[in-house]
C-alpha cells in the first residue's frame, strides 16, 4: 500500500531521542517487543480460542469427532486454563522453542527457518531496489526540480504508488514472463542453485514488492532535497565556492536523506512480514504465505511464531536505521522535546 500517510509520522520517528546509545535503543526496542508480544500473542490465543481453534481441531482435520478432539487437546495439555498455556508458551518461546504446528506437526522454528531465507531474500532485494531506484529517482527529481524530469518522476511515482500490489505483480508477470518470456513467473530457488537463477526468480517479485517503498523514498527524498536546497547552509556552501556536485552530495543529500531513511525504517516490517500479496502472486514460500495459510487453518502457534520473528527483525532493522539516522544527522538528536 502506499501509506504515504504513515510518512507524516516518519519525521517524528526520526525525532526520537537520538542521544540513546545503540545498546540503550536496543533495550528500549526489547521493551517494545515484549509489550507487543504480550499483547499480540495473547490476542491470537484469545481469538483462536473464540474461533474454536485448538490443536486437536486443527490436527485431526474435519473428520474428527468432538470427543477425539477433546481427548487430543487434553493429551497435549490444551485444556488447561488459557493463562497457564500462555505463560507456558511464553517461557518456551524465550528458550527458543516456538512449539509445533498444530496442522502439520512440523516444529514452528523449523518452518520459520525454511521460510526466512525466502522472506529475507525478497525483502532484502526489494529494499535494495527501493533504495537504489527510488533514491536515484528522488535525487534526480530533487536536483532537477520543476523541470520535465522532475514532473515525470513525480507523476510516475505518484501513479505507481496507487497501484494495488497484486496488479503490479500480475502486470510484471504478463510483461516479463509471458510477453518477453524472459523471467520465471513464480516460485523460488535458493541461492545455492546459483546466484543468477536465484535472482531470476526473485527479481520480479522484488520489484513488485519494492514499488511502494521506492515511491515513498522518491517522494521523501525529493521533498527533502527541495527543502534542503532552500536552507541557508546551501547558500553558505555556494558562497564558499563549492561545486554544485559537492553541495548536493556532501551537504544536501546528507540532510535530505533523513526522512527517506525513516521511510525505509517504516517499510521494513511491511517488506519482511507484509509481502503476503506478492508471495501469493509469485507463489513464493515466504513467511507471508505461511502466515496466511496458518491463520486460515487456525494454526495459532505458527501465527505467533511468525509475529515473533517479524517483530525481532523489525526491532533489529529499526535499531540499525536509528543508528544510521543519528550518524547522518547528529543535530536531530536535539530536536526532541
Amino acid at each position: 500500500m502506499t501509506a504515504a500517510a504513515v510518512l507524516d509520522a516518519s519525521p517524528k520517528l526520526s525525532a526520537r531521542p537520538r542521544t540513546l546509545s545503540p545498546l540503550l535503543a536496543l533495550a528500549r526496542g526489547i521493551g517494545t517487543i515484549v509489550a507487543v508480544l504480550l499483547f499480540a500473542s495473547f490476542g491470537t490465543f484469545a481469538l483462536g480460542a473464540i474461533a474454536g481453534s485448538s490443536p486437536g481441531a486443527v490436527a485431526l482435520g474435519s473428520d474428527a469427532t468432538p470427543a477425539a478432539i477433546a481427548a487430543f487437546d487434553h493429551n497435549v495439555g490444551y485444556d488447561r486454563p488459557m493463562i497457564v498455556r500462555y505463560v507456558d508458551w511464553l517461557t518456551s518461546a524465550l528458550s527458543g522453542d516456538l512449539g509445533t504446528s498444530w496442522f502439520s506437526g512440523i516444529p514452528v522454528a523449523k518452518s520459520l527457518a525454511d521460510r526466512l531465507p525466502v522472506s529475507l531474500s525478497l525483502a532484502g532485494l526489494a529494499l535494495l531496489i527501493a533504495i537504489v531506484v527510488g533514491g536515484a529517482a528522488g535525487i534526480l527529481a530533487g536536483m532537477r526540480r520543476r523541470t520535465i524530469v522532475d514532473r515525470a518522476i513525480t507523476v510516475t511515482s505518484g501513479a505507481l504508488s496507487t497501484l494495488p500490489p497484486f496488479v503490479a505483480g500480475i502486470g510484471l508477470i504478463v510483461i516479463f514472463s509471458v510477453g518477453l518470456g524472459a523471467l520465471p513467473s513464480g516460485g523460488y530457488v535458493p541461492a545455492t542453485a546459483g546466484f543468477g537463477t536465484w535472482l531470476s526468480f526473485l527479481i520480479l517479485p522484488a520489484v513488485a514488492l519494492s514499488l511502494d517503498a521506492a515511491c515513498e523514498i522518491t517522494r521523501q527524498l525529493r521533498t527533502g532535497i527541495v527543502s534542503a536546497m532552500e536552507e541557508n547552509y546551501v547558500t553558505g556552501a555556494v558562497v564558499r565556492g563549492l561545486t554544485p556536485r559537492r553541495i548536493m552530495f556532501g551537504h544536501v543529500l546528507r540532510n535530505a536523506a533523513g526522512p527517506a531513511l525513516a521511510v525505509v525504517g517504516l517499510h521494513i516490517p511491511r517488506l519482511i512480514g507484509g509481502a503476503v500479496v506478492t508471495e501469493a502472486v509469485f507463489a513464493l514460500p515466504g513467511m507471508g504465505q505461511l502466515a496466511r495459510d496458518s491463520a486460515l487453518q487456525g494454526d495459532i502457534p505458527v501465527v505467533q511464531g511468525i509475529l515473533l520473528v517479524v517483530l525481532g527483525l523489525v526491532l533489529v532493522s529499526n535499531t540499525v536505521v536509528n543508528v544510521l539516522l543519528e550518524r547522518l544527522r547528529p543535530h536531530a538528536a536535539r530536536a526532541d522535546s
Binding site: A57, S62, G181, P184, Y188, L296
Partner: protein, 481 residues
C-alpha cells in the same frame, strides 16, 4: 518446456498443492492422497476408474462370511529406508493408523478388530463385522504402508520425511513451495515409471497459473475451469478428468425450517444445476443429483434429473411448507468464487432469500462439521476410495456431512448391504446403486454437480493417464515432439 521444466526428458514438474503432511496417518486433507501416492504404496491402489487393484499385495481373499480378509504380499518389497515391506510391517502400519492418538484415520480403521501375520507375505485382517469394501478402503491414504522403522523412531519426522515404497522417494521438501522426488527403484512397478525426477510445485494464483506454464514453471499443472481457454490458446493440452468430486449443499434437517422436508425439496427444485456448471465452472462439470459421477460403479443413472429445475414447483412446495411469502436462510460457505452467489440468486427466484456467510476454511469446517452450528452450508465432497465409506461420510449416522445425524433405518440397511456384498459379486453394482437411490431420496443433502480435475499439460508430456482417484504417473513419459 522451459527452464525448470522438461528440458530434461526424464524430469517432470507437476503443479499441485503441497500435502498437509507426508504422514498418511496425520494427513488432514483428502487431496493429500495425490502427493502421498507418489511415495507410499498401499496394499491396494485405485485403477484409473477407481477400482481397487493390487499394489503391495498381489492378491487377497475374504473368508466365507466376509469378516476376515487375507492379503498376500509381493515378494521382496522394501521401503525406501531399506527395511522390508513384509506382513509385520503391514500389521504395524495399519495398527498405528487405527490406534495412534494423533491418527486421523482411526474411524475408518476401527473396522479392523485384529491383524495377524500368517507368514512374511501373508497378513490377515479380522474385521468387527463383515465388510467387502476393505480393498477399496485401503486403496487410499488409509491403507498406505509406512515404514515401521521410521514411525517407531520418530513419528513426527514423517510429516516432512516420508518413508514408503511408492514409485518415488522424497529427496527434499519445502513446505508450501515444492517437493523434489526421485524415482524409487524398489517400487513394484518401477519398470513402468519413466520419470527419473519429479518436482511437485505449489501452483501459483489462478490468475497467473497459465503464465507459469508458459514460462516453463510446470510441465503439467492443475488449473481452474476459467483458465482452460487460456491454456488451450497458449498451446497446452488440456485433460478434463472426471473425478469423484461433487459440490453439495449440506443441510441439517433437525433445524427449522429444514426440518420440514418440503423446504428441503423446494431448495432442490429451485436449483438450476446446469446453469451453475455453465457459469461457475465454464461448463466443465455434470449436473448431478447424487454423490457419484456417471460411469462410476456407484452412479445410479436412474437418478439423473431427479429434481429438475422447476421454480414453480419450488414455490408451491414452499407455500405448502407454510412459507407462501418466502423464507429467509443463511448459507455458510468457504467458497470465495461465484458459486454461492449464483446459488443465492437461483434460490432467490423461488422466494428463498439467502444471506451468505463466508468463513475461512478451517473455521467453516469447525462451524459446519464439529460444532454443527451451520445448518445450511455450501460444501464440496471429494469422494472416498470405497463407495460405502463415501456414503458413510455423507449419510451415515455419524457421517460428517450428515449435519442432522439422523439417518433413517432404510438408508442404514441399504448402506450395510453394500459392505456385505462382495465387490466382485454380479449384484454389487445394483446393490450400491440402489443404496444411493434410497439415500439420495431420503437425505436432505442437495447434490449440485460433479466437477472435473483439469490438467493443462505441456505437449511433450506423453502417456499421461487421468485417474478418477489419486493421480499417478505410471507410463507417463516426456518426449520432445
Amino acid at each position: 518446456a522451459g527452464n525448470a521444466g522438461s528440458s530434461d526428458p526424464t524430469h517432470l514438474t507437476w503443479g499441485w498443492g503441497m500435502p498437509s503432511s507426508w504422514d498418511p496417518v496425520a494427513s488432514t486433507a483428502g487431496a493429500d492422497v495425490h502427493s502421498l501416492s507418489l511415495v507410499y504404496s498401499g496394499l491396494t491402489k485405485q485403477d484409473p476408474d477407481g477400482k481397487a487393484v493390487p499394489e503391495a499385495a498381489k492378491s487377497w481373499a475374504y473368508n466365507d462370511d466376509g469378516s476376515a480378509i487375507t492379503f498376500t504380499l509381493r515378494d521382496g518389497l522394501k521401503f525406501s529406508d531399506g527395511t522390508a515391506l513384509d506382513a509385520t510391517a503391514v500389521k504395524k502400519s495399519l495398527e498405528r493408523g487405527r490406534d495412534a492418538e494423533y491418527s486421523t484415520k482411526r474411524a475408518q480403521l476401527a473396522i479392523i478388530a485384529s491383524i495377524d501375520v500368517l507368514s512374511p507375505t501373508e497378513v490377515r485382517l479380522t474385521l468387527t463385522q463383515p465388510d467387502y469394501q476393505i480393498p477399496d478402503l485401503l486403496a487410499g491414504l488409509t491403507g498406505m504402508i509406512v515404514s515401521p522403522k521410521a514411525f517407531e523412531s520418530d513419528p513426527k519426522s514423517l510429516a516432512t520425511k516420508p518413508v514408503g515404497s511408492g514409485p518415488f522417494e522424497l529427496t527434499s521438501y519445502t513446505p508450501g513451495s515444492e517437493a523434489q522426488l526421485k524415482k524409487y527403484d524398489g517400487y513394484y512397478n518401477a519398470a513402468d515409471i519413466h520419470i527419473k525426477t519429479l518436482t511437485q510445485k505449489q501452483p501459483a494464483d489462478d490468475s497467473v497459473i497459465i503464465a507459469g506454464l508458459q514460462s516453463g514453471q510446470y510441465d503439467i499443472a492443475v488449473i481452474p475451469p476459467s483458465q482452460v481457454e487460456a491454456a488451450k490458446k497458449a498451446g497446452f493440452d488440456v485433460d478434463v478428468n472426471k473425478v469423484l468430486t461433487v459440490r453439495t449443499l449440506d443441510i441439517n434437517n433437525t433445524v427449522a425450517p429444514f426440518d420440514n422436508p418440503k423446504v428441503v425439496e423446494a431448495i432442490k427444485y429451485a436449483l438450476d444445476r446446469k446453469a451453475l456448471v455453465d457459469k461457475a465452472f465454464f461448463g466443465f462439470g455434470d449436473p448431478n443429483y447424487q454423490p457419484f459421477p456417471s460411469g462410476y460403479v456407484a452412479n445410479n443413472p436412474a437418478l439423473d434429473n431427479l429434481y429438475p429445475h422447476d421454480v414453480k414447483k419450488a414455490k408451491s412446495l414452499l407455500a405448502e411448507a407454510g412459507y407462501p411469502n418466502g423464507v429467509d436462510l443463511t448459507l455458510t460457505s468457504y467458497d470465495t468464487g461465484g458459486l454461492a452467489e449464483q446459488i443465492v440468486s437461483q434460490l432467490g427466484e423461488a422466494g428463498i432469500n439467502v444471506k451468505i456467510q463466508t468463513l475461512p476454511l478451517a473455521q467453516a469446517s469447525q462451524q459446519i462439521y464439529i460444532k454443527r452450528e451451520a445448518p445450511f452450508a455450501l460444501d464440496s465432497f471429494s469422494g472416498r476410495e470405497s463407495p460405502a465409506q463415501a456414503m458413510e461420510v455423507l449419510f451415515g449416522p455419524e457421517g460428517l456431512m450428515n449435519l442432522g445425524r439422523n439417518t433413517p433405518p432404510e438408508v442404514v440397511t441399504a448402506m450395510q448391504k453394500i459392505s456385505t456384498t462382495p465387490t466382485d459379486d454380479p449384484s454389487y453394482p445394483t446393490v450400491v446403486q440402489d443404496a444411493v437411490a434410497v439415500a439420495v431420496k431420503a437425505m436432505p443433502n442437495a447434490f449440485l454437480f460433479s466437477w472435473p480435475r483439469i490438467f493443462a499439460r505441456n505437449k511433450d508430456v506423453k502417456g499421461f493417464t487421468p485417474y478418477i482417484g489419486a493421480q499417478r504417473f505410471d507410463g507417463t513419459k516426456i518426449e520432445a515432439s
